[in-house]
């Protein structure tokens, strides 16, 4: 079997799914953020594959922006996490139920 676009899309879909399932079943906020990164990686693989197989470089540029933004996003997220840890001494989401009603 030869490798075409679909194989890359399957890898991309699997990465996205793994990240999403991780988000649903994990409770540690740090790991949740890592799962977010895995999902974004899935997107990146799909975009680069589409871009190369379609013969344009626009998709590559979008990936470049995604990587930039993801790094900034992680920084903000981890800052919020540090602030949260100072207040609550926890990073586990199940202990963050003060808001439920």
């Amino acid at each position: 079997m030869t490798i075409g676009l679909n194989e890359f899309l399957v890898v991309s879909g699997l990465l996205f799914t793994i990240g999403f399932v991780g988000l649903l079943i994990r409770r540690n906020t740090l790991v949740l953020f890592m799962c977010l990164e895995i999902m974004l990686n899935g997107v990146n693989v799909a975009l680069v594959a589409f871009s190369q197989f379609n013969g344009t470089m626009d998709g590559n540029l979008l990936v470049f922006f995604i990587i930039t933004v993801a790094a900034a996003e992680v920084a903000v997220g981890l800052a919020i996490l540090v602030a949260l840890f100072r207040k609550r001494q926890t990073v586990y989401v199940q202990e963050l139920n003060a808001l439920k009603n």
Partner: protein, 173 residues
């Protein structure tokens, strides 16, 4: 040969990601995440996107993971997680996974309008670093500038959110 490499890299990427989700210890998760990111970078190389592969390694495997590790050390939360998902979310996760995998497999019905190249026939478009720079500073100048503002927001946000106010420090002492 390329086929074999693709399967190898794909396996590394996916297994690495799966191991991140299943590992109990956040430090291990971060390390496994590097493996997954490296796999992704290798996939980019097989596709001919060399610049992005380099950026992927430098930004993700370099900066982002180091940031994660710093925070893990700073908060001292490298204790293993009690990994007991409740059944409702677990079922939800399984259903979500099943749906998405089904959707992905459905993609094997190829889009009718694609030129059905294989990886061997693929002629990588000119994604040299130079052409990247040209595009970024001409066509995509505006988003590039906006991305700069975005980094400014991240900086502002990180500084004031994680800054410990004097009063709170006194309380802690």
């Amino acid at each position: 040969m390329v086929d074999f490499l693709f399967y190898l890299f794909a396996l590394i990427t996916v297994l690495g990601a799966g191991a991140v989700v299943l590992s109990r210890n956040p430090v291990n998760a971060a390390m496994l995440l590097i493996v997954s990111f490296m796999g992704t970078a290798s996939l980019f190389v097989t596709l001919g996107a060399y610049f992005l592969a380099a950026v992927q390694v430098a930004v993700y495997a370099g900066a982002v993971i180091v940031l994660f590790l710093f925070i893990i050390m700073l908060l001292n939360v490298d204790a293993a997680e009690q990994f007991r998902p409740d059944y409702v979310t677990f079922a939800g996760g399984l259903i979500a996974a099943a749906l998405m995998i089904l959707g992905t497999l459905k993609l094997f019905e190829r889009g009718e309008n694609f030129t059905l190249l294989t990886l061997q026939e693929l002629d990588p478009v000119g994604v040299s670093t130079q052409s990247f720079g040209m595009e970024l500073f001409t066509t995509y100048m505006l988003p590039f500038q906006v991305a700069g503002i975005l980094l400014l927001i991240a900086m502002l946000g990180v500084v004031f959110i994680s800054k410990r106010d004097k009063e709170t420090r006194k309380d802690a002492a």
